[in-house]
């Protein structure tokens, strides 16, 4: 691994942890869903760096697009704020 790639991996890992904590702690469920979507984006880049393009493609299509939209539709039909 080159130096620039190592720095990028560390930065991405920090973003991943921050997004995960944000998704868990957030009371507004719509923002929490955006947090999980951000986790999926970062994970997808990680899978690509770790030479698993198949998994990266799956994560990008299902984790970022489809599951996010399913959560958003569900929140729209139920309640937006956690008690």
């Amino acid at each position: 691994m080159t130096d620039a790639l190592t720095i990028m991996v560390y930065v991405l890992a920090v973003i991943l942890i921050i997004a995960a904590l944000f998704a868990v702690k957030q009371k507004d469920l719509l923002l929490a869903v955006i947090g999980t979507s951000a986790i999926s984006v970062v994970l997808s880049i990680f899978f690509y760096i770790l030479q698993a393009p198949d998994v990266a493609l799956t994560e990008a299509a299902i984790g970022v697009a489809l599951s996010t939209i399913i959560f958003v539709i569900t929140i729209k039909k139920t309640e937006r704020h956690e008690e």
Binding site: D54, A56, L57, T58
Partner: protein, 226 residues
């Protein structure tokens, strides 16, 4: 009393998990099956994408199970949301830019999805990814045009046809080959579009099935009772 029993049970479970973890040597490569796949997959299955050859050929039966799980999830959601009075999507106020953009991008996304699952044995990707990309394209049209409808009858037909194709190919392997999903077609030259025997056919079937299922699922979710 209950707490004591809970702690006791946790202790027993923890002891056995810990003692079985102690048996695992760290820092040693115990899973040597990966090397076997990397060395033999191209000549045994004819697919240059080793992951595809594992998913469809070596572990093809598991893939059939995964497709069945997705089918059950989609059917279950449709059963929960079913309503006799008829359901419709609510009015969507998509702006002109979104509508024109969606109209331009929609065929390209469908084409990309089809490319991903037709070239599953050559490039990264495959049936699941291609089907999900196709469903994303249809979702874009759902959100932009209120009048855009999918025909559920045709979706059901496509889904059943793809599933039947998968099982029929598997059974033909049992008849003419030596196992379920055995590669009965000629392997051809690796790295060409028409190669790897049954793998591209199965991945196209999986792609159509996943795309139809996810599209039906999204349509069911977006509709509300009038």
């Amino acid at each position: 009393m209950r707490k004591v029993i809970a702690v006791l049970l946790l202790g027993i479970v923890g002891y056995y998990i810990f003692s079985s973890f102690l048996e695992i040597p760290f820092g040693e490569n115990r899973a040597t099956i990966g090397d076997y796949y990397l060395e033999n997959s191209v000549e045994q299955t004819g697919s240059v994408n080793t992951i595809t050859s594992i998913i469809v050929s070596y572990r093809g039966f598991d893939t059939l199970g995964e497709v069945t799980v997705l089918f059950l999830a989609s059917t279950g959601l449709a059963a929960i949301l079913f309503d006799n009075r008829g359901r419709k999507r609510r009015r969507q106020h998509a702006s002109l830019i979104v509508r024109i953009g969606a109209h331009l991008i929609y065929p390209l996304i469908i084409l990309l999805g089809a490319y991903v699952f037709i070239h599953g044995h050559l490039t990264p990707g495959g049936g699941f990814q291609g089907g999900a990309i196709m469903a994303t394209g249809v979702l874009l049209m759902f959100m932009s045009y209120r009048s855009f409808e999918v025909n559920h009858k045709w979706l059901t037909y496509l889904e059943s046809f793809a599933g039947i194709t998968f099982v029929t190919i598997g059974l033909s392997g049992l008849i003419w080959g030596d196992s379920f999903l055995a590669n009965v077609l000629p392997l051809g030259v690796p790295n060409e579009l028409f190669s790897a025997g049954i793998i591209p056919i199965i991945y196209i079937a999986v792609g159509i099935k996943v795309g139809a299922e996810l599209t039906g699922l999204l349509d069911n979710l977006l509709k509300t009772i009038k």
